[in-house]
Amino acid sequence: MDEKDTLILKELRKNSRIPVSDLAVMLEVSESDVTKRIASLCQAGILRRCTAVIDYSALGVDDVSVILSLKVTPEKGLGYDGIAEKLARFPQVESIRLLTGSYDFQVTITGQSMAEISRFVAEQIASIDGVRETMTQIVMRTYKEQGVEMARPGNRDRQLITF
């Protein structure tokens, strides 16, 4: 890892579709050098996936997202890792974070309806050994996601010509 790798990661985080040729000009290196760097970042498990930020509400999709807070009893020998791994296997689970404070895990889940999510939480999550308590909060609106301000228009009024 050097400064150029850091910059590649920063740029990909902003725009994962940035052309390699652009990165090459920005970094003042050859395109093949950029391709090699990206490949080794992937290989090292640093660059995990290049993805997109989508405003589903703008798309008119009525998916429901919830934030699920869990209190758990750590397992002997495994601590929190065993429960986290069990949670992680479910495709409905988008993120899992271990936190300080009164709840141990914060889990985000997306489903097609509240009924579907309720069923999933009750049947699949609450029944995991070691899960003592759940609190489910419905996401009402997403204002900012991965640094993108959803509620704010990208274009602002600007003069066409100023000196």
Binding site: D22, V25, M26, E28, R158, Q159, L160, I161, T162, F163
Partner: protein, 387 residues
């Protein structure tokens, strides 16, 4: 009824190129990609905006002292010393309503009718008109693409007469993006001193310097005592609409400028001054991020321009590229008009910035990368259609 318009106002040339700007006004904003602006596309850092909002909430909405908030003048004094090694005490600084006002005040503080004022060319559109309004005689000092648009000692010597009193420079330069380094400034410093000239140095793009750090003219030996330094918050902190700049000069000149400032402006906008204090204290990271982004865009954009056949030197500062369009066979005004009509890309004809700008266009890369890429593509299509 008599004609009430003063002779000075009647005779002052309108800024830029009337016909082209009339055309711009007829265009649909949504269709046009504009590379024609002279301002950052970023928002003012939020903590800076919030400082102004808080000052308004607290009711701090009166005039400030003419010179500006004492806290701001002290902060500027420290900042200038640290950043550029230019020692200005707080009473050698005036906070102005943008560099535009600072420039006006500076010119009126030092120019007498009949004085010859040597003005770097190409330059920001207001310089020569300001000199004329003060009764001075502007003398263009041409800067050439082959010298990366720097002022050369030879070109300067050629323009000096016994009536020369003041030299106006602006580096990093609008519209060329040219920069004068320490050696370049030293090379003209002796001439300035030998001919007992005053230097007005507009350094509003100082923080937008991409190779090495900015060298302030007043930091060159022998220049501080004969320099008025102008700078502001618009470009570095994305604060164009806040209208806030500052003028720095040795006390005697600064006191003269302060008299004019207090009559014409009273004081700079108060909320903006509170924002400026926050900008100096806590916006270094935001500024560095913006500058890093401009640098990336510059590299992409200038390569793109050269690739589509518009030769352009790598500008070392500001956020403008100033390619030559002479190879297309069009005048810069025709080029800009047709590019706007045929490919919906707005640029500014170089001749708007003076005789040395003829045959060039000013393109601003303070535009997001996707738009820049599309603009280069459209310019390429246009240039191709001419051959």
């Amino acid at each position: 009824m008599r004609n009430f318009v003063s002779k000075v106002a009647a005779e002052i040339p309108p800024s830029g190129i009337r016909k082209f700007f009339d055309l711009v006004l007829t265009m649909d904003n949504d269709q046009v990609i504009s590379l024609g602006v002279g301002e950052p596309d970023f928002d003012t850092p939020w903590n800076v905006s919030k400082a102004a909002i808080t000052s308004i909430e607290k009711g701090l909405t009166m005039y400030t002292s003419n010179r500006g908030l004492p806290d701001l003048c002290s902060a500027l004094s420290k900042d200038l010393e640290k950043r550029y090694h230019t020692p200005y005490s707080p009473n050698e600084i005036i906070v102005t309503t943008g560099v535009s006002e600072g420039f006006d005040v500076a010119v009126r503080a030092v120019v007498d009718p009949g004085d010859e004022v040597i003005v770097v060319d190409p330059c920001f559109v207001s310089y020569k008109s300001e000199v004329i309004m003060a009764g001075g005689k502007p003398v263009s000092l041409p800067c050439d693409a082959k010298d990366q648009f720097k002022v050369t000692p030879d070109a300067l010597m050629e323009k000096i007469t016994q009536n020369s009193k003041t030299l106006i420079i602006n580096f990093p330069n609008n519209p060329t993006g040219g920069v004068m380094g320490r050696d370049d400034l030293k090379a003209i410093a002796d001439i300035i001193i030998d001919h007992d000239l005053l230097l007005i140095s507009d350094e509003v793009y100082s923080e937008l310097t991409y190779e090495g750090s900015h060298v302030s003219a007043a930091s060159i030996d022998g220049l501080w005592e004969r320099t008025i330094t102008l700078n502001g918050f618009s470009k570095a902190y994305a604060m164009t609409g806040w209208r806030l700049g500052y003028l720095c000069a040795p006390k005697e000149i600064c006191d003269a400028a302060l008299k004019i400032h207090q009559y014409v402006m009273m004081s700079a906008p108060t909320a903006s001054q509170f924002a400026a204090i926050e900008a100096l204290k806590n916006a270094e990271d935001s500024k560095n991020e913006m500058v890093a982004e401009y640098r990336i865009r510059r590299n992409l954009f200038v390569k793109g321009l050269n690739d589509v056949g518009l030769p352009c030197h790598i500008p070392k500062g500001a956020f403008y590229a100033f390619p030559s369009i002479e190879g297309t066979g069009l005048s810069d005004e025709e080029f800009a008009e047709r590019l706007l009509k045929e490919q919906q890309v707005a640029v500014v004809p170089g001749s708007a910035f003076g005789e040395s700008g003829v045959g060039h266009i000013r393109t601003c890369y303070a535009v997001d990368r996707a738009k820049l890429t599309e603009a280069v593509r459209r310019i390429g299509v246009f240039v191709e259609s001419l051959s």
